[in-house]
């Protein structure tokens, strides 16, 4: 079992390394500089994939939370926790790279526009999810509370996605779907999305294994000191 886990880990680690190297090559050498914004537009090739992976993470939390409430199997709770932890890391990076991009383009680091605010609310929701899961004294009760937040909190994901069409925002619209982008830019974006998705899988697998080991340590300690 441990060997199988190590094999998957090595495959994901190797694939992640290759894809990330390819992404960096494409972002800094292959793709042409965008005319209007200049080099700063290259943040786009990580900002969008980071947001995509954050949404994917919270979707996995949503599905696992439903499955936990339905089946009451701890594996779904552990998977939901792992995915939310990784999702928070990626959302944090979205919230960091966004202002770095905004400052030279908009002239401000932050503005309380619909998409930015909804993203911040999303980040806070999943921080609350982890806090409740960690600090509720009774294990099963904490898992149940967290699962409810994992389901209700996901409502905010489509709001973040649709904010640019529902309200007038400072954030630019999704030009990929409306006007399309140059093929080298699209290719770079797709490679980057793939790289970050594989990285997400690697991190979730690692986090899931750690949380399983934590549970095993607890079980063994209980048997030893009983």
């Amino acid at each position: 079992m441990r060997e199988k886990g190590a094999l998957w880990n090595n495959i994901l680690l190797g694939l992640s390394f290759i894809l990330m190297t390819a992404t960096l090559y494409m972002v800094f050498i292959f793709v042409p500089t965008e005319e209007a914004m200049g080099v700063i537009q290259r943040i786009f090739y990580v900002h969008v994939p980071l947001a995509w992976v954050a949404f994917l993470s919270f979707f996995v939390v949503f599905i696992c939370s439903i499955l936990y409430l339905w089946k009451r199997s701890t594996k779904w709770d552990i998977l939901a926790r792992s995915s939310s932890e990784v999702g928070i890391v990626f959302t944090s990076l979205v919230l960091i790279t966004g202002p770095i991009w905004a400052k030279p383009v908009w002239g401000v680091w932050w503005t309380w526009d619909a998409r930015l605010t909804a993203t911040l609310v999303l980040w806070i929701t999943y921080i609350a999810y982890l806090l409740i899961r960690s600090y509720t004294a009774e294990e099963a009760r904490g898992a149940r509370f967290a699962a409810v937040i994992g389901i209700v909190g996901f409502v905010n994901v489509p709001i973040v996605g649709l904010a640019i069409t529902l309200w007038r925002t400072q954030h630019p619209p999704a030009i990929i779907f409306r006007e399309g982008i140059a093929p080298p830019m699209l290719l770079t974006l797709l490679v980057s999305i793939t790289a970050f998705t594989v990285l997400y899988a690697l991190l979730v697998v690692r986090s899931f294994s750690s949380k399983n080991l934590e549970a095993e340590v607890k079980r063994l300690k209980d048997s030893l000191f009983r």
């Binding site: 200049g38 080099v39 700063i40 290259r42 943040i43 990580v46 980071l50 890391v89 944090s92 990076l93 960091i96 790279t97 770095i100 991009w101 400052k103 030279p104 990285l199 690697l202 991190l203 690692r206 986090s207 294994s209 750690s210 080991l213 934590e214 095993e216 340590v217 063994l220 300690k221 048997s223 030893l224």
Partner: protein, 46 residues
Amino acid sequence: MENAGYLFAAYTIIWALVFGYTLSLYRKQKKLQRDVDLLKENLEEK
């Protein structure tokens, strides 16, 4: 190369955070695996 500093800052922060988080996960898992092995040994001796 106007605004190259911002671009450099963004990529540095991303890689520092991702690398730090990945490393912390690997270290945590290694420590937990050691704890599991030790506890199993102790249980067998008991």
